[in-house]
Symmetry: D2
Subunit: 129 residues, 4 copies
């Protein structure tokens, strides 16, 4: 373990396991992405650029191994005139975040669920190496 | 359990426990608060109002029982002229979030740690009723 | 004029008038409010609190005299279960910003316009004392 | 003029000139960039990507002709360990926004000014074709 992580660990309860921690770190990043990036003006042609920016900047956060972003282009407006653009919203955004702490890898996600009319965040899978 | 939660649970892996879930929900809110509220202009006299707004709006999020916000006023500027104000930053903000899922209650926090020069998020305590 | 403003003015072109400046300052605040506050979880009972927070924190910005916020509650969800809440969006938010520089007062606004399907920002009135 | 702009213009006071409007539109984008993008995790190697994303997404906004972003890398941390990264702040960010309405082009900017200890927004130049 990095020496710096020894310092950080002092602030966590002694009962906190690697599994707890991996879930914790991934979930922070889901909440962070939603509240940092929603509101950005977006048109279809800029989806690859914005996707890459979210994936790479947010993967800087502690213990984040990988992020996959999907922006649903069928819900975006056509940019046929000055005011005809969308802003990124929770309903347009699909996220996969993979976090890792010690020997635990967690796959987390966010997706708009029609039945709930809500961009649900969830834990898909918890793996031990 | 609410009927709506039965729908939501289908998106979670079957291995996900109440403990996993309570940590997950609390951590989302930590990440969300940081990325939603940093950047707001702030002066000392408005601390109580902004504190209450963060605590109450973010406690709407699923399975959040309570939020306590502290904004460190000694680091804020004095508002002695037009340009003399601060914006809320991670280093100024202290958070306590309490989440609950089933019989598990989790206490999470965020605090600027001088040794790391970083606003560290952490899990303080995991309790089973 | 405040001494500090003499310093700030050096960065503005010499052709910039009080009218230009009052419009400039008010427009910054419109753009700032939209991109700072959209995304916040909101339910009907918290409208007065969030309204007051936006009005008071954003009026700290230079040369902003007054802000009036209206959050359209008929578009908000009912909070009948865990996932039944809204987040603040441009379509839900109505803004009035009054800026003042020298002897010029400008009334600016933002409002969702159905014909454009867009939260339009506009200059309502420019007044000279 | 686009037909859609005839609709938008109805919401503006009749005294509003092309000069007023060009300043207005550019200033909105300055305020929007600050409050949308500050808070994003950033390390030196990701500066070109984040710069391009800000420039292209925010130029979708009405009557914005061009945006140039500079992120001052000497103030960024070195990413030598897990917690050693920066988040984008007003003091790290330099902006140039060029707006155009009718025959008026306006050059606006934002830059950290040490004398004010403030990321000042300003109007550099107003040009008539």
């Amino acid at each position: 373990m990095e020496k710096i992580e020894e310092i950080a660990k002092q602030y966590f309860g002694t009962e906190v396991t690697a599994r707890d921690r991996a879930i914790f770190e991934g979930a922070i990043t889901l909440g962070a992405i939603f509240h940092q990036f929603t509101g950005i003006p977006i048109i279809k042609s800029l989806i690859p650029l914005l996707k890459e920016t979210i994936e790479k900047t947010m993967a800087i956060q502690p213990f984040i191994k990988q992020i996959n972003v999907k922006i649903n282009d069928q819900s975006l407006r056509n940019y046929e005139h000055t005011y005809d653009y969308s802003v990124l919203s929770g309903n347009t955004l699909e996220l996969e975040v993979i976090s890792q702490y010690g020997d635990i890898t967690v796959h987390l996600g966010m997706k708009y669920i029609a039945e709930l009319d809500f961009p649900l965040m969830f834990i898909k899978k918890i793996e031990k190496k």
